[in-house]
Symmetry: C2
Subunit: 334 residues, 2 copies
């Protein structure tokens, strides 16, 4: 199916935001002295987040992640203790939440930078930095959403260099850990055609693979069957796992699948207001004709579709999308 | 690898707790009138949970799930609104949390039943009912852990027939959804041998596959690489997804993999205090000799190992474990 045969690791590494090259230094998270020392080390880099936005600089040849040195941010723990992300072999990275006034002073020194949405900006970023920023964003979101204990309502305290919460109420003392929501995403095929859907909330012409969250008490595979049936009333008889991708918008782990439909009969739902079967040829025409707009190439949705397109003789789907943009037949994807 | 070839759905359905045969009736969860009607319907069955324990009856030929009819439980919403699980085609099932006094009165009418731990009891339960109880337990645990809003600390209110929380503070109004923690579990192999580890907390002689939680900002495959290296210092060069399993102890979705090690060098860690390479023959001897005790057959850990064992000419691993028990060479697994 993919250039890497049956190795799901090689497949997953082609996905965006897979930040495995950072050593997470799990065993050092509870070493408070080491953490404090690293936070004073001038080689350390801080990854600032302001209201879930990342510090970025836009250039003609792509978007850069902007990191701060410890000297550039007084009181990096104004909101909460900095979070150890790990080491790239040369230096440690820490995520820090910044206040409104810290944000203003950062922007005074970084005149070209701005705090912006990572999802859009990551399209033309280097993979390593997109991965670091995605990881920082995921932890920041979790910390923000878990400031109070779910069991007793008292404030939580951040521990383990940002990777563990403990309830401040000593009688409760409940611990919690970063939340990740497993989700499935699936390209449904039947013989030489694939099924793409249009979510009722999307702009006209946008189509993508089907997706949804895994529910308690179901396997990933059960979730594929249920979501596809709920959304487009299609029944599946074969499901193949492809690879996964962290997707911190806000907190998903996307698990990508191919699934073969029993037939081409499909329905619609409140969520999916249009669903269309495409062959490689009809997808080509629909994209070049400006009729169909696809998910951005950083998404696993695009990756699933692009691999299917290539394996069915369609060539490079990214090239096709670039041609679509050059022809200016639709609004830009992002 | 498995009898079902490349179809991960067929593989996953051999795992315990895959409750896909229950129609979850997602589209009816917000229909309060329908939900109230079903809760009065004498055909409806309630799945009681008391302090995370399930109502079970032990018989010589297996364990039965005990359900209640609506007439058997006055005020099923004493703790929180009942949770719609779905329909098996004949009737609706709802999970209900019961108070201490409700528990006592239930046990007065069900003299053979008791509230007990599902994990142990599920070993000899019918798969359908193990799945329903696992699903109920997962939602119950989530509701208990999310009684208060993580953003502002005010009480949460349960909505969507138990599947959605909304903060009671109208200025916050933050929603939350059932939490599931994705985890990886992996059988590491090298040529004709596999690696099993002994967690420092386990009873002597117990060995299993390696496992751990997925962290923010990593793919499932990255998590396999990181966990195996953290736990036993083994480097992997090929990773294959096998299938997944809901594991509500307390809230995991286990994603099962095979991984091939670069070589047989391994180390240990705080978590894994012993790791051993087994061929089919040496595993057979270690099990029959009472030296090694394996995870229970309901776990995906056992499934991964049993498939590897069969595919390498070892035959049926469950048979082997039954022989071990009959010889009484170790304490029972559960």
């Amino acid at each position: 199916m993919s250039p890497s045969g049956t190795d799901h690791l090689a497949r997953s590494r082609r996905n965006r935001f897979t930040a495995v090259r950072l050593n997470r230094e799990v065993e050092l998270r509870d070493d408070a002295n080491w953490v404090a020392r690293m936070l004073r080390n001038p080689d350390t880099r801080l990854v600032p987040l302001w209201r879930s936005r990342s510090l970025l600089e836009r250039h003609a040849d792509g978007t850069l992640a902007i990191y701060l040195s410890p000297a550039e941010l007084a009181e990096p723990d104004r909101i909460q203790p900095p979070t150890l992300l790990g080491s790239d072999g040369e230096r440690e990275y820490f995520a820090v939440s910044v206040t409104d006034s810290q944000k203003d002073s950062i922007l005074e020194y970084h005149l070209q930078a701005r705090f912006a949405d990572l999802r859009r900006a990551s399209i033309d970023m280097a993979a390593k930095h997109a991965g670091i920023l995605a990881y920082a964003r995921a932890l920041h979101y979790w910390q923000h959403r878990h400031a109070f204990c779910g069991v007793c309502g008292e404030p939580n305290l951040l521990r383990s260099a940002g990777h563990r919460m403990v309830c401040s109420n000593e009688e409760c003392a409940r611990q919690s850990f970063p939340r990740i929501d497993p989700a499935i995403i699936v390209l449904v095929t039947h013989k030489d055609a694939c099924l793409l859907g249009r979510n009722a909330k999307w702009p006209p012409g946008q189509f993508s693979t089907l997706a949804g969250f895994v529910e308690p008490g179901e396997s990933l595979e059960d979730a594929v069957v249920r979501e596809v049936y709920e959304e487009v009333r299609v029944q599946l008889h074969e499901i193949r796992y492809v690879s996964s991708q962290p997707w911190p918008f806000p907190a998903s782990a996307m698990c990508g699948f191919y699934a073969e439909a029993l037939d081409m009969n499909n329905g619609l739902s409140e969520e999916v207001e249009e669903a269309r079967w495409f062959t490689v040829e009809s997808l080509k025409q629909a994209v070049l004709g400006g009729e169909v707009r696809l998910s951005p190439p950083v998404s696993i949705a695009f990756r699933l579709l692009a691999d299917w397109f290539r394996n069915n003789g369609g060539g490079d789907l990214e090239d096709l999308v670039r041609k679509q943009r050059a022809m200016n037949v639709t609004a830009p994807t992002c």
